[in-house]
């Protein structure tokens, strides 16, 4: 029995610096290419599709995200259960994530692309993505400038550490993931009926 969430493969805990080599490099290249390819084919590098989601006229974004979550969740929890992959859990910080999420949302509505789809939009020749990408770099810099202060203030508010939803209810992770996946699929069926696009 593997303790869920514990490191099951070596090398996860050590902070790697510098360029990756070998299999990791190949994975970055192949998966990066495929990720961009799929996002473009899904239409989520198009201004109207992204803004349409936020205006609740076009539900392509939610459909893609939820199906990625369903497929990803079933696979990752199964692989983790058999000690094939590590989970990579970001700590839960109620204050920083509420404020950060809201700020991100405001930016999302203004820029219309998110960091990933903005990169794809650039590849697709939607040059307006460049303005927002410049803003993203500037915003990262602004955060870095304030990072010392933010670490001591906002990022300590509601600090909960690593928190996995099934653990909160003391339910085993794998069955919880499967049931969640089924519920999300049902949700997608209802969504598709309500919003064909």
């Amino acid at each position: 029995m593997i303790e869920p969430g514990k490191v099951v493969k070596k090398g996860s805990e050590s902070q790697e610096l510098g360029a990756p080599g070998g299999v990791k490099l190949l994975t970055a290249i192949v998966c990066g290419l495929a990720f961009g390819f799929l996002l473009q084919k899904g239409g989520v590098a198009k201004y109207n599709v992204l803004i349409g989601q936020l205006l609740l006229q076009d539900f392509t974004v939610v459909k893609i995200m939820v199906s990625a979550i369903v497929v990803g969740m079933v696979g990752i929890f199964t692989l983790n259960r058999f000690a094939k992959v590590n989970l990579h859990l970001q700590p839960t910080r109620l204050g920083a994530q509420t404020i950060g999420g809201l700020l991100f949302g405001i930016g999302f509505a203004l820029f219309a692309y998110c960091p990933g789809t903005g990169a794809v939009a650039l590849g697709q020749g939607s040059w307006d993505a460049l303005f927002g990408m410049a803003g993203l770099v500037a915003g990262c810099w602004l955060y870095a400038e304030l990072s010392g202060w933010l670490k001591k203030t906002v990022e300590t508010w509601g600090e909960c550490g690593r928190m996995v939803i099934p653990d909160l209810f003391k339910i085993p992770r794998l069955p919880f993931a499967y049931v969640t996946a089924i519920l999300l699929v049902i949700g997608l069926f209802i969504l598709q009926r309500a919003f064909p696009r």
Partner: protein, 199 residues
Amino acid sequence: MKVTFRISLVLMVLLRAPAGAADFGVNATNYDGGAWSPYVVGAGIGVLSWLTFYFADKMIGVSSFYATLAGFIGKLFARRHTESLPYFQNHQPTADWAFIFVTCTIIGGFIAAWTGGEFRNEWLHPMWRDRFGENSLALRMVVGFVGGVFMAFGARLAGGCTSGHGISGTLQLNAGSWLTVACMFLGGIGTAMLLYTVL
């Protein structure tokens, strides 16, 4: 989870009316959508997450790419100051896994657009032009840049973007990721509706 599901059901019912009734001046579905089914694309991204976890011990995340870029530029102009910032001490700007991944994402987007006959080569999307006028490039520039700043700051504060939290974090049932995503859409929907009603 059940709660989230129920809330989303209620939301869906509530939003059906305003989505049709609210007047934003344009309808997003009048412009072309995705070439492939969203379910095929989503499932494909799910499989990609298996591969990155298994072969590279990494999760898909994009926003740190821009932080690395900011670090590169910072080091070019003010090396010592950049190295003194706590964020860059913990995340040294190097061409790391995520940086290579996102660089390839741009190329992948280009390949898909080019082979699919969807390479756009345009500064303003038709929907933006229909809503804000033909000569609104300056407005788009300002709105896009300011949006980018908000977005990056929010992503760094929350610890990820629509990829890192929205897909990779949520699929691991990470509580903070579900919270972040809910707040992202809340802020986004509110701002977009305001923008398209007022501006």
